[in-house]
Symmetry: C2
Subunit: 339 residues, 2 copies
């Protein structure tokens, strides 16, 4: 086992777009394992859009990431040393170890370390369809949108880790699933591999009228439920096509993470169509997690829930992979493989 732990720190806050300068790779000695503590070697880091929000100081649901500290984030790996009877060397675990090769898990952080079963579900899937993104999709669809069979569900960032699960679950619940994604390659993946009924390439629809026309064609009976990961002009277009009593689960506003606010241009449609627009954060609903993981794990194990991963190799590749994620360069769940 190495005696060095490499990690990536946040060293400055973005002025507008995040850049490589905001991060620094450093080496530190591996800490000693004290009583009750567990040392985890990370196999995978999860990269997620919400991390961009934490890089800024703006008020949000979570405290901003501290400057000079290791970037926070979800991790999957194995226990390599343990002085805690609940964990044994060799256990596979997911946790919030951050952007580093090893994490010493101690004290208040221990409840966040979860043993997982990798006999039928690959380790990395616990950061994707069976992890936070999948659970987010499950929660927003099942608890906020509550679509009925025959309804039309639209999801933006449809090829991403969350959106891909939203649409497949919607199909399994008897709904028409319509994705929105950027580029032909992503849309082909969404329709032909994930099985959505339709996918709109927003890059091929540069103005509001073109986007609206494609939405009308893809959702001929209107839109009953929207799982919104992006915000901005796509969301505006979807709102305009929503049926009376439609529901919107507001999960992400990626378009606004770089600082400039992105308005909802015509919110009177919320009144006119009596919509419910609800923001949510999945980790505030812990009681749903076991139900979500049970369904998602079974679907992945049986091959009925499909997913792809974009895997960057090595810790040093994490910042560039993260910036690429914010630009939509990944296809499927963005991971960093460390082993």
């Amino acid at each position: 086992m190495s005696t060095v732990n490499h990690r990536i720190l946040l060293v400055s806050r973005p002025q507008a777009e995040a850049t490589l300068d905001n991060f620094r790779l450093e080496a530190a000695p591996l800490p000693d394992v004290g009583p009750g503590e567990v040392l985890v070697r990370h196999h995978y880091l999860s990269l997620d859009p919400y991390m961009r929000g934490r890089m800024s100081e703006a008020k949000s649901y979570a405290a901003p990431q501290a400057l000079g500290a290791t970037m926070l984030g979800g991790t999957a790996g194995e226990v390599v040393a343990s002085r805690n009877p609940a964990f044994a060397v060799g256990d596979t675990v997911v946790g919030n170890g951050g952007w580093q090769e090893y994490a010493l898990v101690a004290g208040a952080a221990l409840p966040g370390l979860q043993k997982i079963d990798t006999r039928n579900v690959p380790l990395s899937a616990y950061l994707g369809p069976v992890g936070m993104p999948g659970i987010t999709a499950w929660f927003g669809l099942s608890k906020i949108l509550e679509p009925k069979p025959g309804e039309t569900v639209v999801v933006s960032a449809a090829s991403g880790a969350v959106g891909s699960v939203v649409g497949q679950l919607a199909r399994l619940r008897g709904c028409r699933a319509v994705g929105v994604a950027g580029g032909k390659e992503k849309c082909d993946y969404v329709v032909h591999e994930l099985g959505f009924d339709a996918c709109i390439d927003y890059k091929a629809a540069p103005d509001a009228a073109a986007l609206d026309e494609r939405l009308a064609a893809a959702a001929p009976k209107g839109i009953d439920a929207c799982f919104e990961n992006v915000g901005g002009r796509i969301f505006d277009a979807v709102l305009g096509r929503m049926n009376a009593f439609g529901r919107v689960a507001l999960c992400g506003m990626i378009a606004g993470y770089d600082g400039e606010p992105v308005p909802i241009r015509n919110p009177s449609v919320i009144l006119r169509s009596r919509l419910k627009v609800q923001g949510f954060i999945v980790f505030e609903s812990p009681s749903s997690v076991p139900w979500a993981m049970a369904e998602l794990g079974a679907l992945v194990a049986s091959g009925r829930l499909r997913y792809r991963e974009s895997i960057a190799q090595g810790l040093a590749a994490a910042p560039a992979a993260f910036l690429g994620l914010l630009k939509g360069r990944n296809l499927g769940k963005q991971l960093v493989k460390l082993t």
Copy 2:
């Protein structure tokens, strides 16, 4: 009894602001009363902001008002002729008779004609605090905002027919009630006569920073629930001060009725603070109406729910009074008295 019925027609649609030219007063013979039909003489017409929406052709929850037809609207009056056993001459009734002196109520419209008890509640109150505006306030507060005692409720257009009831009901439910209104006279009325805890004069807060400062002072523990009647910059300011898991009942977007869309400038707060923003229309919840009217009627009869009326005299005054309502020139419920 007169043999002539005066009425006001919609003769053109507004290009931007509604104007007097959009309306025309005309005289028509009083119709004969056929079997099953009821003739009502109107004592009061109700003027309401939603009517502006119906003057336009834009898609909305109700069909646009037809050109050349009598303006639609709520009315209170008495039965002057009846060939229907459910109604007798002299009954006091509320209905949807429109902008005219008499209405012949027949066929499918009959269920909309409701006998009311004016022993303890004045007839005009059935168009205000015990009518559609009061029921709207009751429904939005009780069924969408569901505030708990000690929470802070903000309502815009606080001196209006809906807003004035929202704040008083919030106080009766143990909440802190904060109004927003235009001008010192309205704010004084809201605080000193209606008993709100505070009222912000938005005309004295011309920019976002000034508005935010006043909101912070009036709602020192943040805002848990917002009953939104206006939209625009006031709504933006309120959203920015909402506590986690806050609720917004979206009842009106008066700022946008003249055609130009009024955006929500920073909707990412809906995500950050996990808000629920819900549009609603009260007449879609008929099962709530008897509960609402029972509570509101008892509160008016006992003097615990206060209200004022702005009364224009005579049918010919209706268009100007309506345009004044859209400009916020009224204080309390805007009515037209016909008798």
